[in-house]
Symmetry: C2
Subunit: 223 residues, 2 copies
Amino acid sequence: MLHLHHLQNSRSFRIVWLLEELGLDYQLTTHERNASFLAPKSLTEKSPMGKAPILEVDGKPMMESAHIMDYLMAKYDTEYRLHPKTNADDPTWLNYDFWLHFAESSAMPPLLIRMIFNKIVERSPFFVKPITKGIQTQIETSYLNQTIASSFHLMESHLQDNQWFAGKDFSAVDIQMHFVVAAAHARSPFNPSQYANLLNWLHRLESRPAFEQAVKRGGRLQF
Amino acid sequence: MLHLHHLQNSRSFRIVWLLEELGLDYQLTTHERNASFLAPKSLTEKSPMGKAPILEVDGKPMMESAHIMDYLMAKYDTEYRLHPKTNADDPTWLNYDFWLHFAESSAMPPLLIRMIFNKIVERSPFFVKPITKGIQTQIETSYLNQTIASSFHLMESHLQDNQWFAGKDFSAVDIQMHFVVAAAHARSPFNPSQYANLLNWLHRLESRPAFEQAVKRGGRLQF
């Protein structure tokens, strides 16, 4: 028995989508965001970190999107339709495994930090704004701009040679990467002349029937 | 042919250590940190993101510590001494896979954000300090304190019932978690009455001969 706790506009959309790709039966509870950065109480009651997604498997909570994806793949994708078999000599597996980790370990943290600084500046009273803007500019030039640009260039150039992140076929890692790319694109749209491959991939990805189904059940991501 | 590019006092210590645990031959190049947040030029020349670790396998650069670990396990740990076989019904595999992702996706980002705000306050001229301290206090109370505390409580309570992160045996995921725990402990030492299991684990972990060997080759981590 699978019961997914989904938080609106969050990474847990990935799991709604993957469950739809797998065609599995599951119960879905959608939780609402509150105004703070913190998890709503309804989620902390389910699991100590209070972070979505939480997948309850026979009543036992499982956390961390990539881990839940690995679990669902190992348990239900036994014919390797949506993920490659572990094989250190197979470029498809190497790609899959690399991007699976890259999404949250390298790509997301600077985007999160950028979002935090945007909020700080936005919420600063007018007499403090010159100072917070100054700090923001400093962190953008010393760290964020270059790190974020390198990470999206890496994706773009990978998709120059590969139709999907793992290689020639769609796989679960495209879902893992989707949240990262969609979040960045929503906040600051990619220039089509610079990111044609990434935009094409995004379009192909969001044309999948299981994506549409996930939007129906979990709501469209709004950043 | 394995050639590891290691950056002093960084996550790449994990790979030095894992290579020592595996008893593999490898070439080691240690790069020096510069004053900024950004990667030194010697690393950006090796790989587009310029982030350590970079493991060159027959001249081809591989990035992302967890991915490199997965690669080394798949390629060289074929008897499953240092990682469990993928099995969605095995609690050891579930633990291993969960903590492998948790380390960088959930535990590290708030620690990184805390470090950035500490630096901002530290570097603020005296007339700006009250403002930057005020922002720091706000982000600590609204987000960091609770998120970081939950994440370390989760580790502590897991180690109450498990000798190591995967379960009863040491595995590569303990190395993945080491950097996170050691970094947090170095900056703000754990209270032994609250974090006895975590401190015992850290002590057991750092008593391993391969850890000592890694310190000899890669230098002791200093935060």
